[in-house]
């Protein structure tokens, strides 16, 4: 199939999930200081979930390690990120 849902897209990508998250979101900043929540829209893996209380829930497991969230976020300190441990994270096979 050519036309695919986001879930179908993500199922084609291989991840070796590390035990510890490489990206940490501080939901207090998202809740109290940020009204834009850019991460929710721009993340190509759709990993940022807005919560009812205005906070953000982040899943690191299916991260492309692209850095878009970090660049898009206009709140100092809300997103802290490093690369996952060597050999972990996304492993592209075709791209």
């Amino acid at each position: 199939m050519v036309m695919t849902t986001h879930e179908e897209k993500m199922r084609t990508v291989r991840f070796r999930v590390a035990a510890a998250p490489h990206i940490v979101v501080n939901p207090d900043i998202c809740r109290n200081q940020c009204t834009v929540h850019a991460c929710v829209y721009v993340c190509p893996a759709n990993l940022f979930v807005p919560l009812d209380d205005g906070g953000i829930l982040f899943n690191y497991e299916q991260c492309f390690e692209c850095g878009t969230c970090y660049i898009a976020c206009n709140q100092e300190g809300a997103i802290r990120w490093a690369y996952p441990d060597g050999g972990y994270g996304v492993t592209f096979r075709e791209s």
Binding site: V42, P44, C66, T91, S95
Partner: protein
């Protein structure tokens, strides 16, 4: 210089086994230096994404004559198509060249799949004598007496020392930042690319795109295809798949609140694109950042004991007609290698010695190209050239070709009316015409 255990001491340490890092490793290893090439992925290329057309065939041919005979290449590009799009219309410039250099060796460009190509290139560096260490994240630089003297790898006994460190660690280069050579980026300086590799039978690809044998085509799309997000889209033919992607500037994705993968779906559904991808099957979805601002986001390129190359140095030329990164990555990696070889011969690794990197970048036409197109990114990647004008051209052609019983209008009054109806001011239009001319003509 302080001495360290022999197994932790190298002449050259290269962070990142993409085209910049592997080219640098290949050249320095061939010069007889002790070289360590570090890669954080499970294998070189595991973290890497491009469109991908590799326009550096002639460059690589100098290093490995006839390289395409042994490398995992897809198709050589001898057709290019640049299309201006409105929601229902496409107007295209179609280029085909069967002449020397395009359809014959050394070929102008090849489509490649990065996890395969990058892995092959790193293996060439390894065969030349470089030590390749995968699954190794470089977290920081090591300093000694005010100069950079090595890298800190995230593992037991991860401090590794080298006379020269070459940072080829990509668009998000942590090393260039840790060394104080690069600043933080703004969302308008970078674009996000989302991409799909779509499987399709080679016979269907040849028929559908009018290709013979291993010929390939590169389509690039401008206009309403990204809706109101600044960016564009592409479709490239591989041997038995298509690489299709959409590029959007981060700041405008944020402002318009657009999800990149939803734009990608609508791009595939465009009436000019849907018949090209029909019957295909998604093989892999991917995403990567593109340092589109080029010269404007260039870091300080060297310091005592360290050089920066490839995407880490912002060497990606995104200037409308040109969308090239791997060739400049390779050229800058080679320029860094030449610099490191010279420094090793002299036994001097100060910034003053490494400054010769600038000369090598010039000789390899990297800095000259980026200087020549230094005004292009902010202008070409802006809203009018990427979105508005292409859409007006597409709509204009739709009006010119329409036969509906109404009197025929000549092109100038038609164009005048279309510009009047758009948000463009005549003065702005004249300035843009001048800018386009200044960018591409002289």
């Amino acid at each position: 210089m302080t001495t360290h255990p022999a197994n932790q001491q190298f002449d050259v340490i290269i962070a990142g086994a993409g085209p910049a890092g592997s080219a640098a490793a290949l050249l320095t290893a061939r010069a007889g230096l002790k070289v360590l090439l570090l890669e954080r992925g499970e294998y070189p290329g595991a973290k890497n994404v491009s469109g991908a057309v590799f326009y550096g065939s002639a460059i690589l041919n100098e290093l490995i004559p006839g390289w395409w005979e042994q490398a995992p290449v897809e198709r050589h590009i001898c057709r290019r198509n640049i299309a201006f799009m409105s929601p229902a219309t496409a107007v295209a410039l179609d280029f085909r060249c069967a002449g020397p250099g395009y359809a014959t060796a050394p070929y102008n460009g090849f489509t490649v799949l990065r996890p395969k190509f990058d892995r092959w290139l790193a293996a060439q560096a390894e065969a030349a004598g470089a030590f390749v260490l995968t699954s190794a994240v470089v977290d920081d630089v090591l300093r000694e007496k005010g100069r950079i003297a090595g890298v800190r790898v995230r593992r037991e006994q991860g401090d590794i020392y080298g006379k020269v460190v070459i940072a080829c660690d990509g668009v998000n280069s942590f090393l260039a930042k840790k060394a104080g050579l690069q600043r933080e980026f703004h969302p308008h300086e970078l674009s996000l690319g989302v991409k799909e590799v779509i499987g399709l039978d080679p016979a269907v690809i040849e028929d559908r795109f009018h290709l013979t044998g291993n010929d390939g085509i590169a389509f690039e799309y401008l206009g309403a295809i990204t809706e109101d997000v600044h960016g564009g889209a592409f479709l490239y033919t591989n041997r038995d798949s298509l690489s299709l992607g959409l590029i959007g500037q981060i700041s405008s994705l944020v402002e318009r609140r657009k999800r990149p993968y939803e734009l990608l779906e609508r791009f595939k559904a465009h009436p000019a694109v849907a018949p090209l991808v029909r019957g295909g099957k998604l093989r892999e979805y991917s995403a990567h950042l593109i340092p589109e601002s080029g010269w404007a986001m260039k870091p300080k390129l060297y310091t005592d004991g360290m050089l920066v190359a490839g995407d880490a140095a912002g060497f990606c030329l995104a200037a409308g007609l040109y969308l090239e990164g791997m060739n400049y990555a390779m050229q800058s990696g080679l320029a860094a290698a030449e610099t490191a070889i010279l420094a090793c011969q002299k036994g001097n690794f100060s910034a003053r010695t490494l400054a010769v990197y600038q000369k090598h970048l010039k000789q390899r036409h990297v800095s000259t190209d980026f200087r020549a197109y230094r005004h292009a990114p902010s202008f070409v990647n802006g809203p009018r050239l990427q979105n508005l004008y292409p859409e007006i051209v597409a709509q204009g052609m739709e009006q010119i070709f329409r036969v509906d019983g109404a009197p025929k209008r000549k092109i100038l009054p038609l164009a005048y009316r279309m510009v009047r109806q758009s948000s463009i001011k005549p003065g702005q239009l004249l300035r843009d015409v001048y800018q386009v001319a200044r960018t591409y003509l002289w």
